[in-house]
Amino acid sequence: MIKDILKEVEELDAAITAARDAALAADPADELMGNEHTAPDLEAMEARRDQLLNSCTELTAADRVFLARHQGRPRIDEYIDVLFTDFFEQRGDRQCREDPSILGGIARYKGLPVTVIGHRKGSNTEENLRYNFGMPGPEGYRKALRLMKQAEKFGRPIITFIDTPGAYPGKEAEERGQGEAIARNLAEMSGLTVPVISIVTGEGSSGGALGLGVANRILMLENAVYSVLSPEGFASILWKDSSRSGEACDIMKLTAHDLQQDGIVEEVIPEPLGGAQRDHKALFTALDAALERHLTQLCKLGGKALAEQRYKKYRQIGL
């Protein structure tokens, strides 16, 4: 299991750093005296860590679900910080309230003004609670739609980041039309006359993910997952037993490579060994290159052609 491997790797990381610090801080006099006991230790630890990481090339679907939910994965704020400049946040759905579990606004991508929208989960418990663990209500989807229609008006490409356990199943969410809000987004997004690129960065579960994901191109990080429902929900509906989620992962074909094979995802973005949380920078470089390539291709198409291409992409999924 990746969980145990990562635990050991993290312990080794800590030990290696500590050993290095100790070596740096060590009294030069010690070395003159021939005390080199830390050096071989360090090499052995590094070798062991690399060996562990190299065993991460063949991950199971359940491993990827674990990584997709890892608290250390880059979040929407970081993607915006690194990939875009001049981000201007826009808030509120203009009808009812501001839903912080979706972050959106205008930014520049390599100079080009774009609209960026994504699920916001937060990176610690306090933030998780504030952003409702990335589970939007209808107001979040309506805000997203407002921003997308505005992007269409001003001719800005739209880039969405998907990372949600699903739309929030709450009382108020239902009363304000969770289903209607998602349905409206699906319908309206399908007809947009500007390029839409969706990037599945973590877990993409159910209609809550799709509500930001009707795109010309879908990119997916190597260890992200995208499915009709969370594996736990899937197992509890089909087998009345959510503890069989591991089994569900294997059946659901929810990994990036599965989805690419099925023609749903256009490109899989490679992650560093052991997951994106280990090296954000390497991930951003790979994602940046892919995003630029797809955006350049799409920007050559006219509005009608973009809507047509998007319609066809979804029209041919299934039978």
Binding site: A187, V228, G318
Partner: protein, 294 residues
């Protein structure tokens, strides 16, 4: 009895009426001992004949029982106008889900349906329409690739022929056994509806018990006109999931048709007995008379 009803029926209509009678539980040609059906709400028991006489609305408490696809179409479409679309489209085991093939076969044998939706053309009060009915007896009316494809084809057909579209929804949501493909049908059907409406098409969404999950979050919520059957459960998340999430009991009537009416998501709640008359009125308001600027 209307003489026309005996002589003017082709074999297509005869087959349709047989299927509708089968859905209503009245399919045996010979005499049988009375076959009883019990109201799911008040537990009132009556013969199938009695239930068919009230369109499966409980004579005691007024509860609307779920009904089969052909039976509902037989209530709505003018006699002799039914013509089924894409009857041959069937679901497949796209994920190689263990045991799904056998289950599909069993559901087909039990219901006589190819999948959870029947799509057709016909006339309602003389107005030609395209109609689709989800059937909750088949995998809870869940939307997999077959339902998504048939709905999309029906919408595209309505767009091409410039006909009004009526969809009767009854569904537990996306079909789990077809995984991500089921999820993508939400985008596919919604996109088709969007195109149809952008061209000026009229879409009447008729929500029946139960309409939940991925169907609520796609075509069922996109009607130009949205009607609902009394007491129907309509929502995105199921009530049990919500109660578990918020740790509270939900108010009485939560997510029922009347509750949605109060919260602004349904135009009117229409009892089954008035279904055809209501649809006819709406259709005529859209198809007859002068248009502004015409």
């Amino acid at each position: 009895m209307d003489v026309g009803k005996i002589f003017a029926v082709g074999s297509r209509e005869r087959m349709f009426q047989l299927k509708a009678r089968r859905d209503a539980g009245l399919d045996s040609p010979r005499w049988q001992p009375p076959h009883y059906f019990t109201c799911k709400k008040c537990e009132r028991r009556a013969t199938r004949q009695t239930w068919a006489g009230t369109l499966y609305v409980c004579p005691n408490c007024g509860h609307h029982q779920p009904i089969g696809g052909y039976y509902r179409l037989s209530m709505v479409l003018d006699h002799g106008s039914f013509k089924e679309l894409d009857a041959d489209v069937q679901g497949e085991n796209v994920l190689d889900f263990p045991g799904y093939d056998e289950k599909l076969d069993a559901q087909r044998a039990k219901t006589g349906l190819s999948d959870a939706v029947v799509t057709a053309t016909g006339k309602v009060g003389g107005v030609p329409v395209v109609a689709a009915v989800l059937d909750s007896r088949f995998f809870m009316g869940s939307m997999g690739t077959a339902v998504g494809e048939k709905i999309t084809r029906a919408v595209e057909f309505a767009a091409k022929k410039e006909l009004p579209l009526i969809i009767f929804s009854a569904s537990g949501g996306a079909r789990m056994q077809e995984g991500i493909f089921s999820l993508m049908q939400m985008a596919k059907t919604s996109a088709a509806i969007q195109r149809f409406q952008a061209k000026g098409g009229l879409y009447i969404s008729y929500l029946t018990h139960p309409t939940t999950g991925g169907v609520t979050a796609s075509f069922a919520s996109l009607g130009d006109i949205t009607l609902a059957e009394p007491d129907a459960l309509i929502g995105f998340a199921g009530p049990r999931v919500i109660e578990q999430t918020i740790g509270q009991k939900l108010p009485k009537g939560f997510q029922h048709a009347e509750y949605l009416l109060d919260h602004g998501f349904v135009d009117q709640v229409v009892p089954r007995g008035e279904m055809k008359a209501t649809l006819t009125r709406i259709l005529k308001l859209h198809t007859q008379g002068r248009k502004h600027g015409a």
